[in-house]
């Protein structure tokens, strides 16, 4: 017969449990989160401080200063008609606009698009996922619609919707978010299906708790960690898709300074002035990379089950 462990052992167990780092501590200690988060924080700071980083109004142009190479000095005329000297750090485009100013201001557009795409996709994904996972009658039809959306390549949905609605910040965000909704829905639905079998949910049901309250109080909190991870990856792909749309000329109107628009303008003269594509390209790649690395780190710490799957 096995002897029951002495009580001291139990207290040692308890002590080690308490000593385990909290989720937040593990997240902060993760290398990927640190690297990705730091780069992203710098980009956010750049976006916030855009007007004070030696930039001019990104839509200002001066035909005299067309097609300057990076670092060249030229003149710039402001809206009052006053001409001043300006150093074109990243050169100028064929209209004589300062590419540095356009790229720095473009940081704002990209980050806003990424964040809002994630918020919109996650919000609707959670809504549909809860409905599908909890109301069995809705499950079949709703998931078939999601299958349908997933069978259409994401970029085509976005392109078609922007073409129909005409490009503006809100239509672009919604158009990019729609193809991302099914993946969130599937994730939430599968989490709901496993959580609803838990004894505490059954207890809540048997106590007569209303369905909406069970969803909000018992089921939704269990989906937070995987949703943060998923949301990060959606933000990264949203930033990328917006740049692709703008680059193809089907995204935000060309007067809005986005990285995609700057590169689209630089296409014609690429052979002579490759920096028109190079600088916004570096910013774009760096941003998407930092968000992806941050997402990898969050996945490893917040959602270890998913980390093992991929």
């Amino acid at each position: 017969m096995a002897a029951s462990p002495p009580p001291q052992d139990l207290s040692v167990e308890a002590a080690t449990v308490i000593a385990r780092p909290s989720t937040w501590q593990r997240v902060r200690a993760n290398g990927s989160v640190r690297v990705g988060g730091t780069v992203l924080a710098v980009l956010v700071a750049i976006a916030l401080a855009a007007p004070w980083l030696g930039t001019v109004d990104p839509s200002l142009f001066d035909p005299v200063s067309r097609d300057l190479l990076p670092g060249q000095k030229g003149e710039m005329t402001d809206l009052d008609g006053e001409t001043f000297e300006h150093v074109f750090r990243f050169g100028s485009d064929s209209f004589g606009r300062d590419i540095y100013s356009r790229v720095i201001h473009g940081t704002r557009v990209s980050l806003v698009v990424g964040a809002f795409t994630a918020v919109v996709a996650v919000t609707f994904g959670v809504l549909f996922g809860l409905l599908a996972g909890y109301l069995r009658r809705l499950d079949g039809p709703l998931m078939r619609v999601m299958d349908g959306i997933m069978s259409i390549p994401a970029i085509l949905i976005a392109i078609a919707l922007v073409a129909l609605w005409r490009g503006s910040l809100s239509t672009v965000v919604v158009a990019i978010a729609i193809p991302e909704i099914p993946r969130v829905t599937r994730l939430v639905r599968s989490l709901v299906l496993s959580v609803r079998e838990e004894p505490y949910v059954e207890a809540a049901i048997s106590l007569g708790t209303p369905t909406w309250k069970i969803m909000l109080r018992h089921i939704l909190p269990n989906t937070t960690a995987p949703l943060i991870v998923q949301g990060t990856f959606i933000a990264a792909s949203g930033i990328l898709t917006e740049a692709i749309l703008s680059f193809l000329g089907v995204g935000l109107p060309p007067d809005i300074p986005t990285w995609g628009n700057v590169m689209a303008e630089g296409r014609e003269q690429f052979a002579a002035f490759p920096h028109n594509i190079l600088f916004p390209g570096i910013f774009l790649a760096l941003t998407v990379l930092s968000v992806n690395i941050l997402g990898d780190g969050l996945r490893d710490t917040l959602d270890p089950k998913m980390a093992r799957r991929t």
Partner: protein
């Protein structure tokens, strides 16, 4: 097997129907007159009226859908006002460049990604493994058009090895055809390599931990055989699956790549149609690409039998 084939074929029908409903609704849920949108900006009043009677736009929405679906099933995707031809023959004309690009890209990607993934799993945690994982995160983050211009700048403009842009038909000679497509295919394959290599690495890593691999090594089988016959062969199903799912990524990449390299394929057609707001063509291209995606994934499902004899349908 035949019964399964039949059932699996039938199961794609609801998905395709839902895709058709979504594409149909896309236009109907947009403010404005669908007939005017379909006819384009320069249409006359008579042309718009013609489209309206053709599509039965005076009837209820469900009736309109079935009229539209009826046209679709007869292979009628409507008329492109921009290209002044019917959409089906338009897609037919643009098919060859896109298929060529996709086929060469898939070949390059599989030829690079699978060996890389196997080697990375074999030397798990080594320099190649870390390099590959780093590359795959990069591959997902560098936009395909930035990569395209970087490659054009170095390989074509600085070194002069490859042509900058354009397309040669396969009828003009296999050599010229491949030579023109090397650069676009390499560009397009990067993200695909990242995806396939990652999954190959993960699933080979898993099979390498299995008992039969230990047994194979214990009986003195050469390491190459252990890796290929035992580890890779058993890891094939997830790899084939991700190649199928990756087709969606590939289609997205085709749209951008064809645009940068001036290849007159379906991707270029999509962008031109959107810029001209040519909705019959946009609808047709979306339906066509989705159909291809669904069919490819059906084929992938069927290929499981070949890659894993334990699976019997």
């Amino acid at each position: 097997m035949l019964a399964f084939l039949g059932r699996r074929l039938l199961s794609t029908i609801p998905v395709l129907l839902i895709v058709s409903v979504l594409v149909f609704l896309m236009l109907r849920l947009t403010p404005g007159d669908p007939a005017a949108i379909l006819a384009g900006d320069q249409a006359t009043v008579e042309q718009i009226a013609q489209i309206r009677t053709n599509l039965g736009l005076d009837r209820s929405i469900p009736e309109q859908y079935f009229i539209w679906l009826g046209h679709l099933l007869q292979g009628d995707l409507g008329q492109s006002f921009y290209y002044k031809t019917d959409v089906v023959s338009l897609i037919g004309q643009r098919l060859e460049p896109t298929l060529s690009l996709a086929a060469i890209t898939i070949c390059i990607a599989v030829a690079i990604a699978v060996p890389l993934g196997v080697l990375a799993a074999w030397r798990h945690g080594g320099w190649l493994d870390r390099l590959l994982m780093g590359f795959s995160v990069m591959g997902f983050s560098v936009p395909v058009f930035v990569l395209a211009y970087l490659l054009i700048w170095t390989l074509s403009m600085k070194l002069g090895w490859l042509p900058v842009q354009g397309y040669k038909r396969i009828g003009d000679g296999i050599g010229a055809w491949i030579y023109q497509l090397v650069l676009p295919s390499i560009t397009l394959s990067v993200i695909y390599v990242a995806l396939i290599a990652r999954v190959t690495r993960a699933s080979v890593l898993e099979t390498l931990g299995e008992d039969y691999v230990r047994t194979a090594r214990a009986k003195g089988l050469p390491e190459v055989k252990v890796l290929l016959r035992h580890a890779l062969a058993n890891a094939a199903v997830p790899i084939v699956t991700v190649i199928g799912i990756g087709i969606a990524l590939l289609i997205g990449g085709v749209v951008v790549t064809e645009s940068v390299y001036a290849i007159p394929g379906l991707g270029r057609l999509t962008v031109d149609a959107v810029l001209a707001r040519d909705f019959p063509t946009i609808q047709g291209v979306i339906l066509f690409f989705s159909f291809v995606y669904v069919v490819v994934n059906l084929l992938v499902d069927l290929s499981y039998v070949f890659f894993d004899p334990r699976i019997r349908y």
